[in-house]
Symmetry: C2
Subunit: 328 residues, 2 copies
């Protein structure tokens, strides 16, 4: 026996007006006589009426739910979390709500959540693609999609990504400028465009003399092991370049374990909290996840509002932040 929530009809009855008049008042249409407005307001108040957005949206001509979906690697990861927050802020400014999901790089979950969001009629989607086949995601779900962080194989929408190649190349050149000639590379999954691009930047900076490289790392423990192995091998590198924060922290732990944190230089791609409080402070190529989120949200809203130009690839600049570990 839960007390039913009141409907517009209930309000109309208690206010002694027609359903449509209530609708007009609730939607702020100006063409209602002041005394009726007052009556309706009073009835809304007394019944504690709240409109049913689902029903409204069903009948409305512009079938908008004013909801978007945001699918990221892991909402608890600092990069994803900052991006999520920025999207949320842009959305709030437009009275739009955000459904979230963490994909953990799982293409199955990606597909499932994108479909589920489509069934909920989200107006659009911001997606950090897992690298699985997205096929014709946009045609399939019927909603505009903006990709963030990574560019999927079969592009069907705008993407907002960091300047990975130049950022990585800049970092490695910075190490070269400090006199390093043998620079190790510790990178993430090559399935993803980020790892490939950052590796390309690394190679570009080193020309025909690249150092040792380990690929497809994505948790700190594996990165730590890989770094230790690399530093213990014959002719070890004098500097390390890591392509994501999980790998960077693994490398830091490795250097500590070997007592080499003051002798082997390190630059990590992607900034992380407290990097400046470590010893030595960690030099990074900082991304700007907030700006990426803002930009992606803006691009998505343009698409939702009907912009129909060709897919855009928007690059967000990175910044080298020298703090010490890259200047050894």
């Amino acid at each position: 026996m839960t007390p039913q929530r009141p409907t517009m009809n209930d309000v109309a009855r208690t206010a002694g007006v027609s359903l449509k008049t209530v609708s007009r008042v609730v939607n702020g249409e100006a063409t209602v006589a002041p005394d009726l407005v007052a009556k309706v307001r009073a009835a809304v108040e007394s019944l504690d009426y709240r409109p049913h957005l689902g029903a409204s949206m069903l009948r409305r001509n512009d079938r908008r739910t004013r909801t978007i979906g945001v699918l990221l690697d892991d909402v608890s990861h600092p990069f994803s979390a900052a991006l999520h927050r920025a999207v949320e802020d842009q959305a709030r400014a437009r009275g739009i709500h955000v459904l979230t999901g963490s994909l953990d790089q799982d293409p199955v979950r990606e597909q499932a959540l994108a479909t589920a969001f489509a069934e909920r009629q989200t107006d659009g989607l911001i997606l950090a693609p897992t690298g699985g086949d997205l096929g014709h995601l946009e045609a399939h779900t019927g909603m505009p999609v903006v990709f963030v962080d990574r560019i999927p194989a079969g592009v069907t929408g705008d993407s907002v990504v960091s300047t990975n190649v130049s950022g990585a190349a800049g970092a490695v050149r910075h190490l070269v400028a400090q006199g390093h000639r043998r620079i190790g590379y510790l990178g993430g999954r090559r399935l993803l465009s980020t790892a490939r691009e950052r590796h390309r930047g690394y190679l570009r900076a080193l020309g025909s003399h690249p150092g040792p490289a380990v690929h497809d790392l994505h948790d700190p423990t594996a990165a730590e092991r890989a770094a230790i192995a690399m530093l213990r091998a014959p002719d070890p590198p004098t500097a390390l370049f890591t392509t994501q924060s999980m790998v960077t922290t693994g490398a830091i732990r490795a250097l500590r374990r070997l007592g080499r944190e003051r002798s082997v230089a390190l630059i990590g791609f992607d900034d992380f909290p407290l990097a400046d409080l470590l010893d030595p402070p960690v030099t990074v190529v900082a991304q700007d996840p907030s700006r990426m989120g803002r930009t992606a949200a803006t691009a998505l809203f343009e698409r939702i509002d009907g912009y129909d130009g060709p897919p855009r690839e928007i690059r967000i600049p990175t910044t080298l932040i020298p703090r010490g570990s890259g200047e050894l």
Copy 2:
């Protein structure tokens, strides 16, 4: 001229069956002849039909949207982000989606988002209350609410919070056991139950001899200034207890600035990434945001499923993690 998404009616027509048969197939009701099922499946496939959850939900008897709202301080803060992630995982296991929002401790936004979620018919809400007046939130929105992290003034629902008093008291006793007699307190907003409870624990451990205290801090810069002032005052404390991670990092910066990080002990409430890599490593009272999120989600789902017992106050234990800074 956007191509309309197909409806059940379209599917029925192309499959040559009635609307209702399509509905049965889509909802997996067993009472449909295999050949009709096949026809419907084919039509669904060829039209790329996807059911409209909003319409379904409107007509259905159990008016569930299978969506919950999660309102936290800031989805990009590590504590909130970890909690969010845990809620999401529990929700996914039940096929439930999550709408998120960051409140930035703003009661106006809290009220607005809670109302907006109610209008979207979310089945329930997990809320880190801002400290503003919530009045009869549950009665008002008509959905169950579970509070996390903090207990609001006028309780109207379950709450899931850390063992703040005993956690704080344990930390301070730990400092006393190291020989400290003068222990400074740097705390967050007393409007919130967390700060009050942690201060109570601090007082309990010190009996009638509390040290200097500064309250109502909530950003690192203010905390840093307060810590510097406290340490420069006459008869400065030999140890600090901080009640949240933002304040803790502020205190760390202050100790560094004064060159006292190896002479003044520090224990912070709430763990944070890389605390173990700092120098000295930071001793903390770790909360368990994942468990809090899991527990809150479970409690909420119980309420959604009709459990109607009295409000529950669930305490999640904290853990003292000695790493060095608290053992000076």
